[in-house]
Structure formats: C-alpha cells, structure tokens
C-alpha cells in the first residue's frame, strides 16, 4: 500500500513541570517554562513511522498549530521519521482561545489538500485535557474514527483497531480514509538520534495561516478565570499499621 499519513503534534508544557497559575487568573505561566511534544503525539508519530517502515505508508506529514516555537516540535517529529512539516502559525490572544474545533477544521482541510488516507493524533493533549480533536476531525470529514487505539493492524483498505474502553478493550474495523487517536499503550516512541536530528533540519516545513486554510479561529469560549485548585493539607504520618487501623476505624472504614 502507499498511504499518506497526516500526524497532528502539539507543543505543550513538559509533562514533568509543575505548572503555575498567573496571579491575574488569566491562564498559566508559559514564558520560560520547558515545553515539549505532547506525549500522546509522540506515540502518534511513532505509529506512523512504523507504518512507513512496514511499507504500509509512503509519506508522513506532520502538522502543528501555534506560535513560532511549534517549529521545534515539528523538527522533533521530522527527526523521528516524518517526511515534511506544516506549521499553521497562531499566536497571542488568538492562541489562548484556540480550541480543538479550530484544529480539527485545519486537519480536515489539510487532509483533503494533501490527499491523506490516515490522520493520527494523540488521544488528548496534556495541557487542555480535551480529548476531542480526532473525533471532531473525523466528523468534519465524515470519516470513521478509531479513538484511544492500543493496537492497529492494516489490512485490505481497512484498519482493525483495538481500543481502550472503560471495562477493558474493544475491537473495531474502520475503512480508509480514517482518523485514529493514540492511547499510551499503542507503542513506545523512539528517541531521535543525532544523525536524524541533523537530517531533520533539511526537511521542509511549510508555513501557513488559518486564513490560508479558510479556517475562522474566532473564539468559541471566553476564559473567565484560571485558578489554583484547592490545596489538600498533608495529613500526619503514622508509626505503624495499628495506628492506620485505628484512624480508619475512627472514620468508619474498619
């Protein structure tokens, strides 16, 4: 097969960073904070690269939307094995109110322009925790969706996908073209090697604006406040199991 895959990657605050809320409650502090590729998107890229290695796919296009620094995220995707990148630049206040709906519209338009067969994105971004983009992109294209994928097998114009659901696992079959979202257990993403990082510098990144794609990014939501969650007071450490039992009894649990 010779499929073309479009992978969406998002630049987010690194998963290990303890985030801080801005004193004016307008958002979280992002300046000077370590950012990296959303962990679920690394898994999405990895899956696309494995499809290329198995000769299922012939080309991988990586897409990212956001401020100029998203180019770094795209370079990481290229170093992992994507062939070329597309950066849709949105910055400032417009980026603050950018929603998965906007991204989905961009992905849907690109899927048509680039004659894409499979779109792969992470199941959720660890900053907004929305878990919406794959589902919405599939809806806009009227393509089937396979979300929270933990195993993907390509056969005769279809993907057989094992999905992670609440009670266990579910298997579905979706015809191409389709949209997939990657769950944590789909694969283990590779590290980009230094030679591949060097090679990635030569791979092309096309720069576009939402307007180029005909996507209106006017805000669908208004941020009222962003606040710290209530702080839990640390309790006491106890000496032994008897004291745990005693405390649980006092709470009516033993």
């Amino acid at each position: 097969m010779s499929l073309r895959i479009l992978v969406g990657v998002k630049r987010v605050i690194d998963y290990a960073v303890k985030i801080r809320v801005k004193p004016d409650k307008s958002g979280v502090i992002t300046e000077g904070v370590k950012h990296s590729m959303n962990p679920f998107d690394e898994i999405a890229i990895e899956e696309a690269v494995r499809m290329k290695e198995k000769k299922i796919a012939k080309e991988i296009v990586a897409f990212s939307c956001g401020p100029a620094q998203c180019q770094e995220t795209l370079r990481t995707a290229l170093a992992m094995g994507a062939d070329r990148g597309i950066h849709v630049e949105v910055a400032g206040p417009q980026y603050e109110t950018l929603q998965p709906l906007h991204i989905s519209k961009m992905l849907a338009k690109l899927a048509k322009d680039e004659q894409i067969d499979i779109i792969i994105v992470g199941k959720q971004a660890i900053d907004d925790d929305c878990n919406q983009t794959a589902q919405m992109t599939a809806a806009l294209l009227d393509w089937p969706q396979a979300t929270s994928a933990s195993k993907i097998e390509a056969k005769d114009g279809s993907l057989q996908v094992v999905r992670e659901i609440d009670g266990g696992l579910e298997t579905i079959k979706v015809k191409l073209p389709t949209v997939v979202s990657a769950d944590l257990r789909l694969n283990e993403p590779r590290y980009a090697t230094l030679p591949n990082i060097m090679k990635a510098k030569k791979k092309p990144i096309k720069k576009l604006t939402p307007k180029d794609l005909g996507v209106d990014v006017s805000p669908r939501i208004q941020i009222v406040t962003v606040e710290e969650p209530p702080v839990r007071l640390a309790g006491a450490k106890v000496e032994n199991v008897d004291m745990v039992v005693e405390k649980l009894k006092a709470l009516g649990h033993a």
């Binding site: 679920f40 709906l101 969706q145 609440d166 009670g167 944590l184 962003v226 032994n240 199991v241 649980l248």
Partner: protein
Amino acid sequence: MFSISQLRNLQGKNVFILAHRFQSTLVLAEHNNGKLNPVTLSAITAAQKVGGTVSCLVAGTKCGSIVEQLSKATGITKILVAENANLHGLLPEPLAPLIVATQQQFGFTHILAGASAFGKTVLPRVAALLDVSPISDVTAITNSDTFVRTIYAGNAVLTLKSNDGVKVITIRPTSFPAAPMGDVIASSEASTQTVNSSPNSEFIGQELTKSDRPELSSAKVVVSGGRGLKSGENFELLYKLADKMGAAVGASRAAVDAGFVSNDLQVGQTGKILAPELYIAVGISGAIQHLAGMKDSKTIVAINKDPEAPIFQVADIGLVADLFAAVPELTEKIGKK
C-alpha cells in the same frame, strides 16, 4: 445565538421570547447489556443545574429495560427511545447523526453525557457536526453558559463561558451525585429519526475484564497499587485487602505499563478519575498524572517505603513501611474489633 432553523424547531408560541429564557437539555444515556451506567444519573443531576427541562435519549439495539430503569430517575421529564439494529456496538458514526437530528427536532440548548470512554468518543463528534466547541469533563455548572473544568492534569481550574448556541458537554461523574430513583416519572416515546448503518465502521467485539469487585469509578473504597508491587502476582496482596474492605482495585500507570494489571484499572489523568470515600495507595510514588485521578478522594491513605514520595503530600494517613509486610498486617487487622 440561535440559527433560524433552530428557532423554527422550538415548539410553542412566542418562540423568540422562549429562545432567550428556555433551556432544554438532552442527556445521552449510557448503557451496556441491559444495564444503565450510573454516569447517566450523574449527568441528569448536572443537567438540572443548567435549568429548564431534561430529556434522555436511549439509543441501542435493545432499550426496553434501560427505559424502565431511567423512567424512575428524578429530574427527567421525557425519554426518547431509538431502538435500531444499526446501533450495534454503539459506534459513533451512526450515533452522532442521530443525536444531531434529535437536537434539531426538539431544539435542545444543551447536550450532556458522562465523561466516560463512551461519552468522550461520541460527543465531540456530535459537536463538530453542529459546528460548536464541546466542553470536556465539566466539574461544575455555574449557569447555562458558564462551566468549570480542570486543565493540566487537575493542576489548574478553568472557568469558561461558551459562546456557542448549543452547548455540548461531558460531565465528570464524581463531581455530580447520582439523580435519586423514585416512582415512575418520565414518559417515553419512540424516536422518529432514521438511523443509518455505518458502511465505514464495524464493531468486532469487546473483551471486558471480569471481576466480582465493585466497579472502580463508583466504588466507595479503592485500593490501588503501583510499581512498588513488583509483579502481577503480588497484586494478590491488594486483592485480599480489597475483598476484606469491599473495595475496588486500581493501579498507577507504572503498574499497568509493567503488565501487572490490565489498562482499564489505571487511575489518573489518562485513566479513570475517582473520588471515593477512601483511597489506599500502595507502592505508588504519586506522580502529577496519578494525583490527577484521585486527589479528590475524601480520605487518602499512603503506604510507601520512601518517606520523600510525593504521595505523602496529599495523604491524610501516611505509613512509611515496606508494603509486603504492612499490607498483609493491615488485611489481618482491619475489621477486627
């Protein structure tokens, strides 16, 4: 705010006045094999916070017993039933257009479902078809257009106002109590919408984890294990404690990734989000991503041999000890007079 077609669909006189005052919510019922998922009852409670009337849509291949269970839920006035063989496996491809058509028929201002795997799969698809921005995993409803949800793994609380005409929302079940069950209140009627089969997607099957223990998301007591358990066999220690306490068993991502237990037990930002009365974390360090799934528990007990483990910062009762000695001892002593 309302498009002309939506206004036309609103029934009754003085449509334009009603459009400003009248809220009506559609709750998507979640069910499986003749059993209503309790997240639906939480969604009904959330729907009442929106104000206005609350209807429920039961869609599936067999809906009779679900309708019967739902008709006793306090707070809903009407149940719409879409029983159709094309809904086998409740795939989002046929289900989402059905929900959209139902919304357009009755002019619902809000569409709600629980933020379970099912709700997360279906509702964003519905929202895109309606060209609105969905709102995920809502923890509080301020009014009909203002909602609260957490971002950054529960480390920030976002209050947002939606500008969209129709609000499509999944709610966090642990943030809303289940609607109480009473006498039969709601009436049911068959949906007049057609349900098309999905030519591009096919349900093959499910492999559900069987367990006699309480369901993780709704259990009052949860015993969870992490990397410290060292092996799947050692989880037996937790099962014994859980069974003695009538508890469900959960796990950290590390325990799932190491293959100790299956993924549907994962508690955290990307697994299940719980708020039981008692959460016992055993051999779990307490990474940000795990805390996101359990820090709203009423009482947290941590058993860990590392006194510096971050889990102790949120634990009400902390025991620095080797779990392989402490857990059997706790199992033995708990419940004794």
